[in-house]
Amino acid sequence: MSLFGALAGRVRDGLRRSRQLLGDGLDALLSVGRPVDDALLEELEEMLVAADLGAATASTFVHRLRDEAKRGRAVTAADVRNLLRGFLEETLEGAAAPLHLDGKPAVILMLGVNGAGKTTTTGKLAAALVGAGKSVILAAADTFRAGAIEQLEEWSRRAGAEMVRQGAGADPAAVVFDAVKAATARQVDVLLVDTAGRLHTKSTLMDELVKLKRVLSRQLSGAPHECLMVLEAPTGQNGLAQARLFHEAVGLTGLVLTKLDGTAKGGIVIRIHQELRLPIKLVGLGERVEDLQPFDAKTFVAGLLPEP
């Protein structure tokens, strides 16, 4: 970097810092008529990176913006923002999709890495489905984590859904087998299967998941109707590796993005959607049952790009 470049960079950083000090109000005022320059594009790129879209994805978007700006299609900062918002929404086209509940019972397999929020999401989903007039059975197929069965049991009480369980350490395939039998016999609408959290790199645990799926489909044709990977919004670029490996193993039908009520934006789902074309079926926006909601691209993108 030339001496001048370094100096300019320092001045820019200084300005940015003082703008932050001056507060958002003035910031907004300054940026309304702000021309499109490298500094602005760089800020947008950082915003995307900060939202976990990944350096490569962020830079692709910014390149497109730069092209548009050159062609005179974006003159002010506001134009650029709108363009970027449009790009992101376009990328997420087809990402919102409803749950498939046409089976009788419809079987939903919940999976993901440890701590993503599978059990909580399963519980909330059960409550939501019961609230919508569906009959639901929960299968406690996480027999590994201490306390997982008790945790789901508490949710089954709250949701008013029955639960099929065995002891801790039992074969999850056996739990699932029993659960399908119970769900079929009682003719319930939905069977929700909560599985143990597993890192996507552990091949034996992934094999176990493949077996679970096989047991389901052998017992009930068309099952599982949904294989949902639960992903927490704070996840970084590793989310793509997770989705890819779970998808390869069992064939995912969609994602559930949890913990969006924090400061993390969950931008990794854009990259996942770009690469694997997986829909995002649900988002978790809080601790209450009604905080589990269908994904909406517009709302999501608005969250990624807060107004200056």
């Binding site: 976990d52 990944g54 350096a55 704070p234 989310g239 400061t263």
Partner: protein, 447 residues
């Protein structure tokens, strides 16, 4: 995709090879790649920015060390800087003079607090201490049960009652630990969002009431850019003394650790590497630095190559190449040096490019045998044959094969490889005029 940094750095390193000095341009290019690599490893972009500036200052204008190629030097600066940022290794949690030592775990939900609490209990138990656990997480259904189950497996007492208030649970736990002479006391707290003021206030209340000696922030290694915000809020609200990095047994690069470290200035004390209660390790900054960069241990490979290569031998070899007198004797010496660097499989493990390549070990075993065979073949030759391979006719080949316990086709292969090598060296010599230096063109030539 996630391994691309390895390839990228190797690429830069190849391109930089042969330059005697790092120019501003090629440093700039390397730093751009490093920036992307760090971002892909989930290091926060602000941290990356500051980091790249520091590396630029260090890398610029430095003369190339005799021992390293320029590319590797950039890598080395980056790596050293990362290690330094990640802090010294083996941070120990000091025990308080008056037991119980109280250790309090805080963090987001799902980061692995409860599992880490049990693992820490096991860790201290193995050191001969008598830990006790307490769960103040009365919100997540069955969180207390989870810790109690884990404690029962380890034979560590666990306190906690979902019907009580968290502060009361912690206070009673401290009193009970003191009474029973148990230490350390490990407090597992409720995981909720860092923007949940009520939760932060509860953590502050516990801290005020119990006065923990160590507050540990538990961070999921798969966390992205938001790690800085989380660490900052927890640090502001309750104060963090050290960090536990969990779920490092996956393939996440763990750049979040760097962000958290930079924001809090606190050391990373432990790393969670598996689901078993044993799976807690002390933190090694150098290993994490390597992992963040996605590189194998290139530097120790270079060090080994240097150790194996005698300087005078090296100069001798360089002269021979110039004089085009690279004999089979020299070839044998080269093979010996290659083998003295250690088992080939282990060497390959250090080269990022080969790391994780499937079926590699078996092939390499073949290679190693081949080297041994070549050495045996050359040993069965007369001095004349070694200096002038052209005189080796059919009869001599049969004799050499018999003498070395190999076959004529093995001997042929060796002679062919030697001829090829010699031809390659001739080519290099011609290139030397245009390229300036021969340096780095062959892996085992002196630099």
């Amino acid at each position: 995709m996630f391994d691309s940094l390895t390839t990228r750095l190797t690429g830069i390193f190849d391109r930089l090879r042969g330059f005697g000095r790092l120019t501003e341009e090629n440093i700039q290019e390397a730093l751009r790649e490093v920036r992307v690599a760090l971002l892909e490893a989930d290091v926060n972009f602000k941290v990356v920015k500051a980091f790249v500036e520091r590396v630029r200052d260090k890398a610029q204008g430095q003369d190339v060390l005799k021992s390293l190629t320029p590319g590797q030097q950039v890598v080395k600066v980056v790596r050293d800087e990362l290690v330094e940022l990640l802090g010294g290794s083996g941070h120990r949690l000091a025990m308080a003079p008056h037991p119980p030592t109280v250790i309090m775990l805080v963090g987001l939900q799902g980061s692995g607090k409860t599992t880490s609490a049990a693992k820490l209990g096991r860790h201290f138990q193995k050191q001969g201490l008598h830990p006790i656990l307490a769960s103040a997480d009365i919100y997540r259904p069955a969180a207390v049960d989870q810790l109690k189950t884990l404690g029962a497996q380890l034979g560590i007492p666990v306190l906690g009652d979902a019907a009580q208030k968290p502060v009361a649970i912690c206070r009673q736990a401290r009193d009970e630990a003191a009474q029973r002479g148990l230490s350390p006391l490990i407090l597992d707290t409720a995981g909720r969002l860092h923007i949940d003021e009520g939760m932060l206030e509860e953590l502050r209340a516990i801290k005020r009431e119990v006065g923990p000696h160590h507050v540990l922030l538990v961070v999921d290694a798969m966390t992205g850019q938001d790690a800085v915000t989380v660490a900052d809020r927890f640090n502001q609200a309750v104060g963090v003394d050290a960090i536990v990095l969990t779920k490092m047994d996956g393939d996440a690069r763990g750049g979040a650790a760097l962000s958290v470290r930079e924001v809090t200035g606190r050391p990373i004390a432990f790393v969670g590497v598996g689901e078993k209660t044993e799976a807690l390790e002390p933190f090694h900054p150098d290993r994490l630095a390597q992992r963040i960069l996605g590189m194998g241990d290139v530097l120790s490979l270079v060090e080994r190559a240097q150790a194996a290569m005698d300087q005078t031998q090296a100069e001798d070899l360089a002269r021979k190449i110039r004089e085009e007198s690279f004999t089979l004797e020299d070839f044998a010496q080269q093979l010996k040096q290659l083998r003295s660097m250690g088992p080939l499989g282990q060497l390959m493990d250090m080269v990022p490019f080969f790391k994780g390549g499937k079926g590699m070990p078996r092939e390499l075993q073949g290679e190693e045998h081949e080297l041994q065979r070549f050495e045996a073949i050359i040993a069965s030759m007369t001095p004349g044959e070694r200096t002038t391979p052209a005189i080796i006719n059919g009869g001599r080949r049969a004799r050499i094969a018999r003498g070395s316990g190999t076959s004529v086709s093995d001997v042929n292969r060796l002679l062919k490889q030697h001829a090829q090598l010699k031809k390659m060296m001739k080519g290099l010599k011609q290139m030397e005029g245009r390229m300036g230096k021969l340096k780095g063109a062959l892996p085992f030539l002196p630099r």
